[in-house]
Symmetry: C2
Subunit: 290 residues, 2 copies
């Protein structure tokens, strides 16, 4: 999707909030904002919102002279994810349909998003995970069944990761994948906000259940035209693709191949544009037969 | 007060929302936003938020090739104010202390602010006016008494207007001023957002109760160093100054002369900075003896 005018104040707010998470120096943040405004004056709104965020966070990293300012926040998110995962495993394993409940927890985990500061709220997190068990029974059985069967018969499944912390729940879901497919887990090529890179994927135990692959870029989403050729080959050849989170939805939802999206709707612009409500949980397939 | 980093996303949002109120052409708004970003890259945050808004709205007017894009909105606000004033007059005249109730309605009128689109909400407006009668009994009697006595013994009272629509309630208050002071009502030198200019002041009946004077500039507040010398003379020589609304508070609250402020707190940055809550009603005097 293209960037909406409504994305502009939100991205500016995220830039201020994100900068404050990693520096208390308001003078530095003022310099950051001035550089961001200079770039925004030239930005092409036909690009996706994650490409706008890529530009903004490249500026933040450069001004802070820090290639990974969210390193500690990602570490904390993974630790929080690992702690929450213990209860999730119990709930998944006692469920009549563990796969469906694992899908629900993978979506619940999408709330672990320090990139949207307003979403990182203990009450919201607790509610998100409390909702997961019940949510599984609200999924369309046919949709979950189709995803299950596709994974079961696939030779390769490519999971597109989203945030640190959330990746722990992606691992729980991958552990419940049926069949014998080769599982690839795509991470960002280099750090951007709190997105999962190889480091956090390993901390989440992804390396034990999948081959971790890089998409080659620092966009908090997946813009195929900008990914590495190695990644594009994997993308084109994978039998099943599961894309986690809103950034991947914003950048891939107009693609022509079949893709499964698992996410929570966190943004009013996307909600309005696609007729969802903020807070909706999505198991959505594009370009499917059904 | 200086512009906070938190003002930036809010001003960007106001610019998008305001532009949409006056044009449906998203291409034009994109051009407007790009010019605004170019200017913001150079903006000095030690200036006040209304000076930032001045810059933003000068760009909007220039791109729209329209010196007063909010002309119709101001007209509508005045008409709405005149309608609401009928009930207000009844409430004021039956009150044991009509002056205090008129002060409350002058603050209630501060909610008529199309400049902050999010505030222009029928329910909020109705609640604001419903609150006025009761609010008068919650004022500090001593504070209201002091304002009353100062007006009564003044030779000149200068009222600094704020928004169209709100001006109708400023007129109701001026009509209840005690004493024989000469009343001056200051308007903006030229249109900016929905701020009251001479045209809307006359439509509100201000010319029947006060002499309308221009402050000479298009800042949605009162920055003394940028006002016309004629206005500065009036400002310095007035016995009593009553400043309406948040824009005047943001630009005058660090001045050294005595000023009475009547306003509603609409912004979380100001609320936090000065230890108020959004929605608070203020009758506040700076540099007073008490």
């Amino acid at each position: 999707m293209r960037t909406s005018l409504d994305c502009l104040p939100c991205v500016i707010k995220q830039a201020v909030d994100s900068s404050r998470l990693v520096t208390a120096d308001e003078k530095v943040i003022t310099d950051i904002m001035q550089t961001i405004f200079t770039e925004l004056a030239k930005f092409d709104l036909s690009l996706t919102p994650p490409e706008l965020v890529q530009t903004v966070h490249a500026i933040i990293r450069k001004h802070l002279n820090n290639p990974d300012p969210f390193f500690n926040i990602k570490k904390m998110s993974t630790e929080r994810g690992l702690l929450l995962a213990k209860e999730a495993v119990t709930a998944i394993d006692k469920a009549p349909n563990p796969f469906a409940v694992a899908v629900a927890f993978a979506i619940a985990g999408n709330i672990l998003d320090f990139g949207m500061k307003s979403v990182w709220n203990e009450e919201v997190i607790v509610n998100s995970f409390a909702k997961a068990e019940n949510q599984a029974s609200l999924f369309d059985d046919q949709v979950i069944g189709e995803l299950y069967r596709e994974i079961k018969s696939a030779k390769t499944v490519l999971v597109l990761g989203d945030n640190a912390g959330e990746a722990v729940f992606d691992r729980l879901l991958i552990e419940r994948f049926p069949g014998k497919a080769k599982i690839l887990y795509a991470v960002k090529g280099s750090p951007v906000i709190n997105d999962v890179t190889k480091t956090e994927a390993i901390e989440s135990g992804i390396d034990k259940v999948a081959e971790i692959v890089s998409n080659g870029v620092d966009i908090p989403g997946t813009v195929i035209s900008k990914c590495s050729s190695e990644f594009v080959e994997l993308y084109n050849s994978a039998d099943v693709i599961i894309a986690k989170g809103q950034g991947n939805y914003e950048t891939l939802n107009e693609e022509t191949r079949k893709i499964w999206f698992l996410l929570q709707i966190k943004c009013p612009v996307i909600a309005k544009h696609y007729n969802y409500k903020v807070g909706d949980w999505l198991v959505k397939c594009i370009n499917g037969s059904s």
